[in-house]
Symmetry: D2
Subunit: 180 residues, 4 copies
């Protein structure tokens, strides 16, 4: 069986990366957050390996749709095209809004529940590039209500992807082998 | 970078399949639910293709852990090793329990939010093999409180995996290509 | 301790109901879906009781924010203010989009995981008022990509709220009392 | 309409508190984590107010079921009643397990997605009483694989409950009032 029509994975990937970069963030900056999260568990981990996992995350359709939707809402809020009271909720990055976190959850979930912890941690501390996106002034012109959570969620999902690949414990391997 | 220890994917897969079969369900029976869910959208879909996607779902670590945990709780409840009031919650497949659904959610999420709808649908209707697992008598000896949701979640996740592979629309492909 | 400023619950509730009605759906129509879902378990259940629980659901801030955000996206798509490829994803109610389901999940979760099953079931079958919102023609003028899931999620959350209030089992009550 | 049988809320609450205390944690210790999380936003917040919100969280049925289930798994693992390989996953608090996080998510979700961030943050940093529960030695006798996440999730859910009650912003109040 063949899909009658099929999108090129590269085409989709390139479009999402372009949208992220147009909002002022480079993938390397997201990969740096991933490296920070995982290097204490995996001392040999490099930025290049983290970049590979960032790319895998961005290849996922659910992630692409969350990015397209969140950035659209940020941009429309900047342009004044969102109606009230949602406009104020978005422009002030209202702490009780919650929809930015639920979109981030759909990104993190792609690599399983272990990403929740890393997402929450970076969403609280706003390391690296996330700091410059986090500006809650209601008068500000730039709106990154969704984008800072999206960046954190991609970094956390990539950290999960790294952990799934490299962090298996010897005790667990032995426990499975005994049952085989 | 290499993982210092690495579990064989086949070993883990075989163990999970063995556990599912020991509880009375064959993978083909789960694949039949997937086929039922997707064939109206994809008339050429076959049981063999669905089996391939069931296998992919069962290769995911989050899914394996949900299966191991849910079946353990069912089995311990059967053996009378669970304390009260949890024992009664599990033995009666209490409708307000909710933890069986949250475990199922962790399975479904692996292929994204589109699986929620199919999971809810089969969890309500209990098609095929799910029917024989669904027996809410509080006096029954067999406990399948987690297992019926797990079977439905694996079937729904495989349906999402099939859809992600074959169900791209022409309109969406064109929309991306115009932006490239 | 007092909140320095405090929104009137009635004011927020009234605004959300107005927005839902402007999109062509009456709360009674959502309550009918809830009644359908629960009356086989609770034969004495009435539409009035279901309306009370619909109102409780709509009083929740997370639900209000999901409604405001989802309807805004539908309306902006109708007005041609969404950029491509997201515009096509929304106008065609693309089956692989997934963000509509994740927003619905944030509504359903407010009354716990037991709502997942009812949400999936109605999202598949589109009973009552959901049917008229579900029109996947890419040429259509009205866009209800988020709204049909929102309506189903509110109905399912209200069904959970009803179940939490009325559906406790005698066996579970006894199991707790023995442990007290 | 009346529920034919109805559990006493106090009875359920008392049982859950007893189970938490038997595992070595006092509610005040959880409330201290909540206070730490919220006092920088709400300088007048007190431990007593946080205790009120901890109690509200523990009154929720979904939370009670997550506590009963998670603690049961911890205790059965301590007693050697869990089969392999799950026993090793639980005894070593395996970082890739994920089911502890998904159970925590079901607790946090009760007060909406805004709790995800606080949960992740405390799950990473293990403040206060969480530190003494977090001991990943595979040879240890005590197993708190679920309990440390449960404690963090209750603290984070209570922080959300506090925020929902006291943290409304003036800009948002005005935006709603203009639309009324």
């Amino acid at each position: 069986m063949h899909a009658t029509t099929k999108l090129s994975d590269d085409l989709k990937y390139d479009l999402i990366v372009k949208r992220i970069e147009e909002r002022g963030v480079k993938l390397e900056e997201i990969a740096e957050i991933t490296l920070d999260l995982q290097k204490k568990y995996l001392p040999e981990l490099t930025l290049d390996i983290c970049m590979d996992h960032i790319k895998r995350v961005i290849m996922k359709r659910e992630v692409q749709h969350a990015v397209l939707t969140g950035l659209e809402l940020d941009i429309l809020a900047e342009k004044g095209l969102i109606s009230e009271p949602l406009s104020t909720l978005l422009k002030s990055d209202y702490g009780l809004y919650g929809i930015d976190e639920i979109l981030a959850l759909s990104i993190v979930n792609v690599y399983g529940s272990i990403g929740l912890t890393n997402f929450g941690y970076v969403d609280k501390l706003k390391p690296g590039v996330m700091k410059k996106l986090d500006n809650k002034s209601p008068d500000k012109k730039e709106v990154h209500t969704f984008f800072d959570d999206i960046v954190g969620a991609i970094a956390a999902a990539a950290a999960s992807s790294v952990a799934h690949k490299y962090a298996e414990s010897e005790a667990v391997v032995k426990a499975y082998e005994k049952e085989a």
